[in-house]
Amino acid sequence: MNFVLLFLITIFSLSLFFYGRSKTKSISIEKNIRLNALPKFYGYYLVLWCSIPALVFLLVWSLFEPVIIKSIIIETAANQGAIFSDKNEANLIYEKIKAIHLGTYFGDIDSILRESALAYAKFINLFTNSKVVLIFGIIIASVIYSLKKIKNNNKARDDVEVILKGLLFVSSLIAILTTLGIIFSLLFESIKFFSVINVFDYLFGTNWSPQRAFVRDASSITAAEFEELKDAFGFIPLIAGTSFIAFIAMLVAVPIGLFSGIYMAEYASIKVRRISKPIIEILAGIPTVVYGFFAALTVGPFFRQVGENLGLTVSSESALAAGLIMGIMIIPYVSSLSDDVINSVPQSLRDGSYAVGATKSETIKQVVIPAALPGIIGSVLLAVSRAIGETMIVVMAAGLAANLTINPLESTTTITTQIVMILVGDQEFDSPKTQSAFALGLTLFIATLILNYIAQRAVKKYREKYD
């Protein structure tokens, strides 16, 4: 039904465009007046007026219709004598009623359910009919209004401008509000978590074993249980593992990325650049899950094999394998960012250096790199923030055990891995275990936010200097 309505609204408003355009043209000829805008703007004006109110109405209606019908039906069922003690049971009955209506319910149907299903059908019908009537009413009203405006030769161009501005504003409002919503939900869930677990126990605890808090409602925790929970949520092993793997990744990505960036910017001929830059950027487009199974299935076992041959015990899920592959994943970011930064060092600085007799490598080392340094640091920080937020590779290749270790051959775990582990499978929404995922998410969010902020400041400051 909704699709039919959408289709009709679209067709109708589009045809109004042509009507508005030719109508105003003929008006201007007939009455010999100068229009206040080009005829096509009257067309746009009609289109916008015809479609937006109807669409907004349709959207709002679709959001509220199910909720309202549901409460009405549950009410009806209760009046019929249905018995339910809490929300869950009520929901169950409602689902049954819906299924009966759709003909997909195969259990026993008693008289209460049958009556309710009939009522459901009645209400659905009623709602749909009124929806259609109202929408056409709205369209007719807004078309009459806008046609009248057009006949009075309104300043359609300015009006269209105002409407478009409003649309753009609403779009950005939605973007901002959803982001804020996510942040606040992170924040509130984390606050719940921290009302059970002390912030300091979390931040400085060295033991991470959230499974101890399995299926435990936060509100009904006893003092003894609390003691046990207290040191199950230590953040230190996670941040240690995260930083460790990120560190290994940077050991790989920074030198290789930076040197390849320097080569691209300073040495590569235009031809080489034209071919190799896209290739490097393709690397950046490989989905991380591909890197992940490469790390887990190829590199990890390879390291273990090599380790065995050398007489070392290497876990098949090692920080080394994860870090290495993550580093390879990040190389293109560092490379293309530092390439950009180095490229934007003005040629005049290089000329100045050549003119006193410096060679190319001296110039790069002593003039170009120092000049580009803030930007390079910025790109490295961006890469770090990617590394600590990266999930797929570490989930597949780094392991799950929260070891506090600096042996790259052992398995470690990271913040993102733990969030995944906590949230896959069945969840008790109120258990501290689930809530700890939000706390981890919040911590991660704050960390990357700070890194990104510093990085962007560095890059921007650098840009200002040379633009």
């Binding site: 001929s269 100045g352 006193v356």
Partner: protein, 253 residues
């Protein structure tokens, strides 16, 4: 009349397929200022960039013909470009100090060439260069501030000091005052007058007045050809060529 320091013979320059200089024969006298004038795009910059082989930096640029300094062929493939640029310094149109301290801006060249091995020698070089470029009094107390914190005119003098620091024989200046106000320009012109006692100077300029004030010899370029060259006085009082006459009187260009 001073000795000839630099001599170009049938110098041709190409950017890809496009020829930018045609058979330029121009002599530059030692310890004298030679001004190069001519309308935009006529090849003045191209010419002076041949003298320190800066055109090497541009891939598509090809230079043929001869250009000699004290009898040595600058265009020789086997020539050590680094030591050539040590002998031929350059100052650019826009001041381009390195984003380093004032001190490091000056000591950069000497360090690269292994001059000034001890700290005090290096200090001496920095001080001398800044004095010669008439900047010492203004910056002696702030040598560790970034070179980019100076005013435009000061920056240009810093760049002159940077060129002087490796003790060159020739200084090339490509419109050194075009980004400066009249007062800073006057200072630089005064400086050029002083510097010509020690160095051979070539200056590209769009200001006829400046050419008259600072140079002893003037060359007029048009569309890649050297149209006329001679004593500055003569070029500006009664040039042989009609085109030169038209240009200096502002009838085209």
């Amino acid at each position: 009349m001073n000795n000839i320091k630099i001599k170009s013979k049938n110098l041709n320059v190409y950017y890809g397929d496009k020829q930018a200089l045609f058979d330029v024969n121009l002599d530059l006298n030692e310890k004298e200022v030679t001004a190069l004038i001519g309308p935009s795009g006529c090849g003045k910059s191209t010419f002076i960039r041949c003298i320190n082989r800066m055109n090497d930096v541009i891939d598509i640029c090809k230079v043929t013909g001869n250009i000699e300094m004290d009898g040595m062929n600058i265009n020789d493939k086997d020539l050590d470009v680094v030591s050539l640029r040590e002998r031929v310094g350059m100052v650019f149109q826009k001041p381009n100090p390195f984003p380093k301290s004032i001190y490091d801006n000056i000591s950069y060249g000497p360090k690269i060439h292994g001059k000034g091995e001890t700290k005090s020698e290096l200090n001496q070089i920095v001080e001398n260069s800044l004095k010669k470029s008439a900047l010492w009094e203004e910056v002696k107390d702030r040598l560790d501030e970034p070179g980019t914190s100076l005013s435009g005119g000061q920056q240009q003098r810093l760049c002159i000091a940077r060129a002087i620091s490796v003790n060159p024989e020739v200084i090339l200046m490509d419109e050194p005052c075009s980004a400066l106000d009249p007062i800073a320009t006057a200072k630089i012109e005064e400086l050029i007058d002083e510097l010509k006692k020690t160095y051979t100077i070539v200056i590209v300029t769009h200001s006829m007045a400046q050419a008259v004030r600072v140079s002893q010899k003037t060359g007029f370029f048009h569309l890649g050809k050297l149209i006329e060259v001679g004593k500055t006085e003569k070029i500006f009082k009664n040039p042989d060529n009609k085109m030169t006459q038209d240009y200096i009187t502002g009838r085209f260009g």
